[in-house]
């Protein structure tokens, strides 16, 4: 199976919102669409999924136009919500039925996903304990009513929405900002589920501002800025192309004169702990040799490739400068 997105282009009046976007996924994995706010990520996803008309371009799944007819797609939209006054179970059953999942299968999948995402208590109201209703002799406690969407916290609503994307057991999962607004505990829960889906051999397209998460999962990326693709390719190769140019250095005294002498740039500094931009291993080793030569104890010396966050900021910054 493969996904081929070619020359997607969209304008609103005279404004170009997506400019000739192309990328492909030849096998299972995670593809990240990254970009600044308003760069065109969501519009690209909507066009790709056929929800928004395209001026040009196409999206193919195994050579067929990508749609719910040719591919089982799960989509977590950036703009998400639930019917506020309807029961959560009704809503999930509805979304599953729209994807052609049978009633019995829907129930099984909802149960399984609810366990994985730890939202069972909102979907399966507890029956009262046998002793509970008899305590006062007259009041029999009723079974809890099913929860409505507006009775849930934002994080739990988001987990229910995440369930809707996975209900049809999709082969292609598109997640637009899947972790935004979640607390660390819920972030970890959803990350675990995403990891499980990757292990099952699913195709994932992810759009996010959380670079650490994207970096953890994705194999290939496209960075969009002001509707254009400014960087595209395999993440490891991109990082390699930059080389090991970031140096994390921690000492017990001020070493700024040594850094200046070596010609490295200070990116950040905090109590004798420095993030440096170096030209490569030679410059970093020269600095280390200078410090050791003067008998300055070095606690941490970590020369590494730039992170995705650093690449993103640098690349977008370059584009804006040009």
């Amino acid at each position: 199976m493969s996904l081929q997105v070619s020359h997607l282009h969209k304008t609103y009046g005279s404004k170009v919102v997506v400019d000739d976007l192309s990328f492909s996924m030849e096998g299972p994995g995670v593809y990240a669409l990254l970009g600044t706010n308003g760069a065109g990520k969501t519009t690209s996803i909507r066009m790709m999924l056929g929800m928004l008309s395209r001026d040009r371009g196409e999206a193919l799944w195994n050579g067929q136009p990508l749609s719910t007819d040719s591919c089982n797609i799960g989509y977590l939209a950036e703009e998400r919500g639930l019917y506020p006054k309807y029961s959560l179970m009704d809503q999930l059953m509805y979304f599953a039925s729209l994807r052609g999942v049978s009633k019995e299968e829907s129930k099984k999948r909802i149960k399984s996903l609810a366990e994985r995402l730890e939202v069972e208590e909102y979907l399966y109201p507890k029956a009262p304990a046998p002793s509970e209703g008899k305590k006062r002799g007259f009041a029999v406690k009723k079974k809890e009513k099913p929860k409505l969407a507006d009775q849930l916290s934002k994080g739990n609503q988001q987990k229910i929405q995440f369930m809707t994307a996975l209900l049809s057991d999709p082969e292609l999962i598109v997640l637009d900002e899947p972790l935004s607004g979640l607390d660390p505990v819920n972030t970890d829960i959803i990350r675990d589920v995403i990891r499980e889906e990757i292990e099952k051999g699913k195709y994932l397209i992810m759009s996010s501002h959380q670079m650490a998460t994207v970096e953890e999962f994705c194999t290939d990326i496209t960075i969009l800025d002001r509707s254009k693709s400014i960087l595209q390719g395999n993440l490891n190769e991109i990082k390699k192309s930059y080389g090991r140019v970031r140096l994390h250095l921690k000492c017990e005294s001020d070493i700024k004169p040594f850094i200046q002498e070596a010609g490295a740039a200070i990116l950040s500094e905090k109590e004798y702990e420095y993030e440096l931009k170096v030209t490569g291993e030679e410059q970093a080793n020269r600095l280390l040799a200078a410090l050791i030569g003067k008998g300055i104890p070095v606690i941490t010396f970590d020369l590494r490739e730039p992170s995705l966050h650093e690449i993103f900021v640098e690349k977008v910054g370059e584009e804006h400068e040009s």
């Binding site: 609103y12 009046g13 909507r46 999924l49 929800m51 928004l52 008309s53 719910t68 007819d69 797609i73 989509y75 977590l76 939209a77 950036e78 703009e79 998400r80 919500g81 639930l82 019917y83 506020p84 006054k85 309807y86 009704d90 509805y94 979304f95 039925s97 729209l98 994807r99 929405q161 809707t164």
Partner: protein, 435 residues
């Protein structure tokens, strides 16, 4: 465009929307309240219309004592025929003489004469099972008989008495409708179809209520979906036209149930009320309905025409609703449909007496035909051919609206911003606007 593919998922959208409408607490309360109002409607109308009780207590009036103190020659057999015209006093015995003090369930009528003329005075014994309203009803029945007898004492010929005591008829009609050979009454009846007009008005009111109630539900459901930010999640699974059409059908089913409760409640109320109260005012409306050509074909014409009209309005309401971004815009979105519905209602009422050509045009035009065609068909003013032609036109309009929805609905429901008016939506359809 593959219409079948565009409509896939309509069933699921229909089922979900319909069940949620039925489960909604507000709607349940509304239905119960409607049922209570419908049940109360007939007794209220009977009382407001001056109706009186026809309960068992009324019919328990057993005897009427007639004490004639005048020179009028009252015939008990004539008197009986006047009284028996009303079913309110079955088995009432007529007895000559004054009312005895201990007579239970009996009324006395004293016919006397003084300087001012004839007086008819009714008396009864308190706490003897006589209700005052039964006496008033009895007096209303006897009064015309006494008046007739008074006139007869003047020695007038029978013709003169009947002219003086009878009602007078005033007629107005075009010259073409007047027949010199004395059949003016028949010509008048043909030009003023009172039963037809009554049913046209009743049908138009019910249909107007049905449509207004429905479009408000459709528009609110669409705006709720938009403001709940569910659109993207839904559009991955179901085509926009199916999303809209499913809702329109669900609202139709719900409003049919709602109207069923309203009309069923009123019918039940009529059945119960007529046992205890005089509902002759409503009998007139029922008579008008029964005078129509309401056979299987007639029912089919009413159902299909109103259904097609509703679908047209529903789709239009869907498009208007999709152009809104919040509930604040709902009333604005409703206005376009409301104007058309009220126009259809007004024209159907005023146009009932229109000439052949105007009537034909009205029965064919999309907005008007749902109001005009069924009642004109049932009254025998138009034939089935014209009704079928109006169905064809309505189907064409619905198809155009479905195609328009398929093209525009996804753009409209993704759109967020100032409410798009219907003309903006039309511009978009022509590819001149951008949402």
């Amino acid at each position: 465009m593959n219409l079948k593919a565009e409509m896939r998922g309509t069933g699921q959208v229909f089922r979900f929307t319909f069940l949620q409408l039925l489960k909604s607490k507000g709607n349940i309360i509304g239905m119960v309240f409607t049922l209570i109002l419908a049940m109360a409607s007939m007794p209220l109308m009977a009382f407001l219309g001056g109706g009186s009780f026809v309960s068992d207590e009324d019919s328990s009036l057993k005897a009427l004592y007639v004490d004639n103190r005048t020179a009028l020659s009252l015939s008990f057999s004539d008197l009986s025929s006047y009284l028996y015209e009303s079913a309110a006093f079955p088995g009432l015995a007529l007895i000559e003489g004054s009312l005895p003090e201990e007579a239970p369930e009996a009324v006395g009528a004293v016919v006397s004469e003084d300087e001012d003329g004839i007086a008819l005075t009714f008396t009864w014994n308190d706490s003897k099972g006589v209700q005052p309203y039964a006496v008033y009803q009895l007096s209303a029945l006897l009064q015309p008989y006494i008046e007739k007898k008074s006139l007869e004492t003047l020695g007038l010929p029978e013709r003169a008495v009947s002219l003086l005591s009878g009602s007078h008829v005033v007629q107005a009609m075009p010259l073409a409708g007047y027949d010199d050979e004395g059949t003016a009454e028949e010509a008048y009846d043909n030009s003023f179809d009172e039963d037809g007009y009554t049913t046209q008005m009743g049908y138009s009111i019910i249909l107007m209520m049905f449509c207004i109630y429905s479009i408000s539900f459709i528009i609110r459901a669409i705006i709720e979906e938009k403001s709940s930010k569910l659109v993207d999640t839904l559009l991955i699974s179901v085509r926009p036209a199916a999303l809209l059409f499913g809702k329109v059908l669900a609202v139709l089913a719900y409003v049919v149930i709602y109207m069923g409760i309203l009309i069923g409640g009123m019918a039940l109320s009529y059945a119960v009320t007529s046992r205890f109260l005089d509902v002759s005012a409503m009998s007139g409306i029922l008579g008008a309905i029964l005078s129509l050509k309401l056979d299987g074909m007639g029912i089919l014409v009413v159902v299909v025409t109103s259904l097609l009209g509703y679908l047209g309005f529903g789709l239009l309401a869907g498009l208007c609703g999709a152009g809104c971004s919040s509930m604040d815009d709902a009333s604005g979105a409703m206005s376009t449909c409301m104007i058309l519905i009220i126009a259809g209602y007004m024209v159907s009422i005023m146009g009932f007496f229109s000439s052949g050509t105007l009537r034909t045009v009205g029965c064919l035009l999309p907005v008007l035909s749902m109001f005009m065609a069924p009642m004109n068909y049932l009254s025998g003013n138009i034939g089935f051919g014209l009704v079928a032609a109006s169905w064809g036109i309505q189907l064409l309009v619905i198809l155009l609206l479905i195609l328009m929805s398929a093209r525009l609905y996804s753009r409209l429901i993704i759109y967020n911003g100032q409410r798009l008016k219907f003309f903006d939506i039309l511009k978009m359809a022509r590819g001149k606007g951008a949402a």
